[in-house]
Symmetry: D2
Subunit: 148 residues, 4 copies
């Protein structure tokens, strides 16, 4: 599983004294971006080809509150890739190992006109990398891909 960590920001809390639930959806995006950066599939580059990958579905199950002063870690993996869509699964834990969130997201590829595109056709070499990511979903990821 890929891991992404940081501390909670003050402005992410609400008057309940805990992190507002809307921020978790942003943490998942941060982790996703960090993951794709680390496997040489940075969003900023994919988007330079005119291909974007918006969220089409999201499910979140909140287990524990996060607080200011906490650190969180998002564990994520890609669970499906079809050439036109992909799915990710996540768990978010705090510094004490308490599970804060379980989540899943689905994504489509779209072009600059906001219409669906096939990654296979739009950017073949990125399609191949995505396929290899599905075959090697372990911690050995980087080595197998010869990345970093």
């Amino acid at each position: 599983m890929y891991e992404y960590s940081r501390g909670v920001f003050y402005y992410e809390t609400d008057r309940m004294g805990v992190v507002h639930h809307s921020n978790f959806i942003r943490w998942l995006e941060e982790a996703r971006n960090s993951y794709f950066n680390d496997v040489n599939l940075a969003y900023v580059e994919t988007e330079s080809f005119g291909v974007m990958s918006p969220v089409t579905d999201i499910k979140m199950k909140f287990k524990h509150f996060a607080k200011f002063g906490d650190n969180f870690t998002v564990h994520l993996k890609m669970t499906q890739y079809t050439g036109v869509r992909f799915r990710m699964a996540y768990t978010v834990v705090n510094q004490n190992g308490e599970e804060l969130l379980e989540a899943e997201s689905a994504h489509a590829f779209i072009g600059e006109n906001l219409r669906p595109v096939s990654l296979a056709r739009a950017i073949p070499e990125r399609h191949e990398l995505m396929q290899r990511l599905m075959e090697t979903p372990g911690p050995e990821l980087g080595m197998k891909l010869g990345i970093r």
Copy 2:
């Protein structure tokens, strides 16, 4: 169905040129707060009794992009109330009637120590109002409850 509307804010857009998906979860909260205000169950009052109702689960299915310049309307209703939990269902549409989002949320009641409480025991008269809301989930809501 209860309705809540407003225009898209500039700061809610992202570099794709559309509303960032994380804002939809905030729109649902705005709509929920507006609904509970209008049925005399304002969050600000429930919280003055030390009872809060955080989101425990959320599912969102994104159908269409929202853009700056658009108006959106959240249609929502309560679909379950058990005394310790409730569920809401939502659809969000734009000014052209295009469906932007379908969503569901689940909520628990908790006290100031962030532990679950029964609304029935904590604020009996609010528990009764919640029960009546479940019995009268139509547009006739306000009239039946003698509200506004």
Copy 3:
């Protein structure tokens, strides 16, 4: 003075129990957009000509906290317009007339390459409207411009 009002959103509060200060800068933007909509200079249209007007300077003086349950009103006016820049002044008050914020912002016009442009040259009819706004900065604004 132009006025823009709404209630505080739950997600705008922080763990101090008050509105996080970063939201005020967003409220000013909401008010500015509403103002320019109402004087037929909607951002969404100006941007359709490829002209944007980012903030170049902002000053904010926080006077009172805003809370969930509060309503706020932004009073704003344009204080300068040069053809390539404009300035706005704001006061934000709550439902009790308590002043929450005093603020000023400065803005430049830029093109799609993010470089400065002259509104006078880029969209002459919008330049004229801006000039007339500076001449008629009162509540009689709408009437003079024949708007609404």
Copy 4:
């Protein structure tokens, strides 16, 4: 000068394709929190004594746009400390050394009733640390204070 860095998050961009200006005020807060953590004056601890330090004034001068894919560094220092107030100055630069922002903020200490308090009276040992910070505003900070 103390430094705080991270990459730009996708959700911080707006439809202009650049970071929305409201996020800079949040970056300053992140940097401030990181600074106070590193000098043993963590907000989360100060707040555990019932003392908070909200922003009372802020000035920001935007120089360059920040984009998705960029890294930013906030350079900050405390410029004044009176026992009841403090001031900070900031510059934010990107990975190419381009200056994105110049800013100043002022802060007051308040208690749980949201009324001003003197840090000197409320938490004397934190008052002393603040005084020493003003005397040693250089990179040698940590060493002088025997921190980390």
